[in-house]
Symmetry: C2
Subunit: 277 residues, 2 copies
């Protein structure tokens, strides 16, 4: 199952070319606010020096950015950044519960199940879950959307005997942790690490970004009360739509002074985020 | 001040070209273990289809990967991934204390101060710190290295009156939080968010990665006991050398069941990580 073809406003600059690279980099800088709304973009000559490319290449990248509405070209006086950053909706998720209480934000999320099947575990997945290599596991690929816009790409692996408690239809409509807990799995703990990755063609298409864009990546191994691995999650997030946030307190004295994360208190108003990814 | 020029094993494929993009993507997949050590790489024909490029382009990308020692070409039977992933040293930092107790790992970190100066605050930095736009701030750029290998690129902004307690020489030798606390600042709390970004040319050079590589990015605003912003940190990390890790507990009952981060206990053996970034 595939998502609709990605509408690409950058058809004018070839995939993988130099202009595309400069376009992606500047777009990334605008999305992150390194280039601020209303700021003057450096001139073509300076950009050409910075990126080590010709001015023709810079001009093509700027045309694509203008086509996206991210810059406004001014005759004779360069370009102005028009990020509209303040108005864009970005999910600020806390690092434990990866999908926050979006309903409280007035927003609606949904998940689309792209792939569902059983296969032998690769050595990396088997190692992570503490299984023998080649043991059969349930693999699913889902995309999560906020108000119809994709923001995360989730690949999950669950040992076959654990996965027998849910069907493809179940996973298309309910969060995986809910299904596992309904099936009697005592989910107890998780270990996760956060990193960054380049969007490969298939993930880029599902998340509606150009191939080679930067994505936030997260890997999580979930264990039950016996310490058995019951889920491996590899998630990729669009950084313009999703950020992991947390608050910290500075505690301790003298040489022992250090940061500690502040545990978010649950409001109890809304269960939608609790079992989500 | 600039770091030494980046040795580039990929000089054979032009910066920003299609072969470079495929090279970066495959390198990223190998670093993350999506392509596992010892696995067969898909054939040239399949890779060409996946990336929408010619087989000549794929061949150039594979030659560069072979030059890096990341794949081994076999006559007539494709290529084998040789990531040596298990032996590579990756920093696993907890999400609160961004530099863990590396001395306990037998490793040595150092920071190099690349830039140090005073300038008017941009609107984004002023907003984040709760200052008026244009107020003078101290800006520093540092690179942190583990055993001589760069892994993080740190840009800090500190309000001028707070920054008067340290000099350029101080910052070249001591962590910023130590200096602020020695100077009498009561650091109280922080808010941070984690995302991903593409390596711009200057950051790529300092971190010794190709331009356009994926980097883990972190933004942190630090406040004193009066709630005043005393530091803005924008950090970029090499994902192959640095990951943010955390453990979670599944707590609560029924509809209220959710994840909570496990606060790491300090061992008190080593203060080196406490004030670092």
């Amino acid at each position: 199952m595939a998502l609709k073809p990605t509408p690409d406003v950058t058809d004018s600059i070839p995939e993988g070319g130099k202009a595309r690279r400069v376009y992606l980099q500047l777009k990334d800088d605008i999305a992150r606010g390194v280039l601020e709304d209303g700021a003057n973009l450096p001139g073509e000559h300076r950009l050409a020096n910075t990126y080590g490319v010709s001015r023709v290449t810079i001009r093509r990248a700027l045309e694509a950015l203008a086509g996206d509405g991210l810059i406004e070209k001014r005759a004779g006086s360069g370009s102005i950044v028009r990020s509209g950053r303040a108005t864009r909706q970005t999910i600020k998720a806390d690092i434990a519960n990866l999908v926050p209480h979006l309903a409280e934000m007035g927003a609606k999320t949904e998940a689309r199940l792209l792939e569902f099947g059983y296969q032998p575990a690769s050595s990396a997945i088997a190692d992570a879950l503490g299984l023998a290599e080649g043991v059969r596991i349930q693999r699913a690929v889902r995309v999560r959307l906020l108000d119809g816009q994709p923001f995360s790409y989730l690949v999950t692996h669950v040992p076959e005997d654990v996965a027998l408690s849910y069907s493809e239809a179940d996973l298309a409509t309910r969060p995986l942790y809910s299904l596992l807990e309904l099936g009697g799995v005592q989910i107890d703990s998780a270990q996760q690490s956060v990193s960054a990755t380049l969007a490969a063609p298939d993930i880029a298409s599902a998340l509606d970004v150009p191939t080679g864009s930067a994505l936030l990546s997260l890997e999580r191994v979930v264990r039950d009360e016996q310490g058995r691995g019951v889920e491996h999650l590899a998630a990729s997030y669009r950084p313009d739509r999703y950020q992991l946030s947390m608050s910290l307190d500075r505690v301790g004295d003298g040489e022992n002074r250090h940061w500690e994360p502040i545990v978010q208190l649950e409001t109890g108003l809304n269960g939608s985020g609790r079992a989500a990814q």
